[in-house]
């Protein structure tokens, strides 16, 4: 990352990864892009709070995660009544090769959406985003043992949902 480039440029170069993180947290792609946009706006407004020399990526991931917790909390009450849980999982049986990539994404997103929030964020940060346990522990303000035990439960549940097919 270029230390001398303006904040906005650095943020811009993080956008593809932030979008991916948003897709791992959200129930659907439109929510994910809304979350990404809210994160950009919050990061720009909070620019003065970022300490140059520290990692901008961790700082932005933390903003996104906090925004997501806020919206997920208000959504979860609705979602209990809506949740068409199996819908996303069944599409894996479609035989057409060309749609595999899209279907994989939908299927994995559906499975991720069924994990409890606190497991989903740890699974996303470590398995998809490639952060280390200690980085995630600092980012989320959790003891490393908590990160580790949530990761075990989350990935075990996820394997049961997507790994067998």
């Amino acid at each position: 990352m270029n230390q001398f480039s303006p904040f906005e440029d650095q943020l811009g170069s993080l956008l593809p990864r932030l979008r991916r993180f948003a897709h791992t947290l959200s129930r659907d792609p439109a929510d994910a892009d809304d979350l990404t946009q809210a994160t950009i706006e919050r990061a720009l407004r909070s620019k003065a709070q970022w300490e140059p020399g520290t990692r901008l990526d961790s700082w932005c991931y933390r903003i996104m995660r906090n925004l997501w917790i806020d919206t997920a909390r208000s959504r979860s009450r609705k979602a209990v009544h809506e949740a068409p849980e199996e819908e996303g999982l069944n599409v894996g049986e479609d035989p057409r090769d060309a749609i595999d990539a899209t279907v994989d994404l939908k299927r994995v997103m559906a499975a991720m959406a069924r994990l409890p929030d606190e497991q989903r964020e740890v699974v996303a940060l470590i398995l998809v985003e490639g952060f280390g346990y200690r980085e995630v522990s600092e980012m989320l303000g959790l003891p490393i043992g908590t990160v580790s035990s949530r990761l075990v439960r989350g990935r075990t549940a996820l394997l049961a949902m997507v790994g067998e097919s």
Binding site: E8, L11, G12, L15, P16, R17, R19, R20, H23, T24, P29, A30, A32, D33, T36, Q37, I40, E41, L44, V91, D94, R96, D97, A98, I99, D100, A101, T102, D104, L105, K106, R107, V108, M109, V123, I126, L127, V128, G132, Y133, G145, S148, S149, L151, V152, R155, L158, L159, V162, G163
Partner: protein
Amino acid sequence: MNDDEKFFAWLDGELEPVDAAEMKAKVAADPELRRMAEQHRALGAQMRSAFDPIAAALVPERLQAALRPTTQVIDFAAAKRARSLLALAQWTALAATLAIGIFVGTRVPHVTDAPVEAQGGKLYAAAAVNQALDSQLASAPAGNVRIGLTYRDQAGEICRTFTATAASGVACRNGGRWQMKGLFAAPEGQDSSYRMAAGMDPNLAALVGSTMAGEPFDAAAERATKAKGWR
């Protein structure tokens, strides 16, 4: 750290060398642990291959725009220029083939086999691509253009993906025409039959995945929508 946690920390490369060596030996000696390691490595790979296309895809324009709040811009013309430059940059990044398409489509309008044509600042399917989008069913490929998915996007338009000789893309039905939503160049040195077998371009897959509403149409729904003029 309990045994499970230690096992996964080993799998993730998080153990100190001495502990890692011990766990490695333990896994090697235990078929059940070996199977678990394989399953979880495969799960990690599956997760990454599902989500990585998002990070490899173009960032939607509205997110790019959110980075550059327009409140400080007082010169409307300058803002407009900046927007069109941004759009230009995005299109340029989209694909080399697209550049060829625009070039041929706008500068040499009488060339009839260009896959796209520009009109009113929008790009539309033309020639063989247009014909395939209009008439071809995924189940009955013909000619050099192959249709992939048909689906409804979040704006309610019917969209279809296609693979042509040098590119693949997606177009949506808008005002009685097929408007290009994305066009991606084929990787250099791959011929089209290989690409068709290899599946959808990851950028295209990400674009489709992030705009599709519901599920792709099956063969019956595709036929029915065709009969209704792609509405």
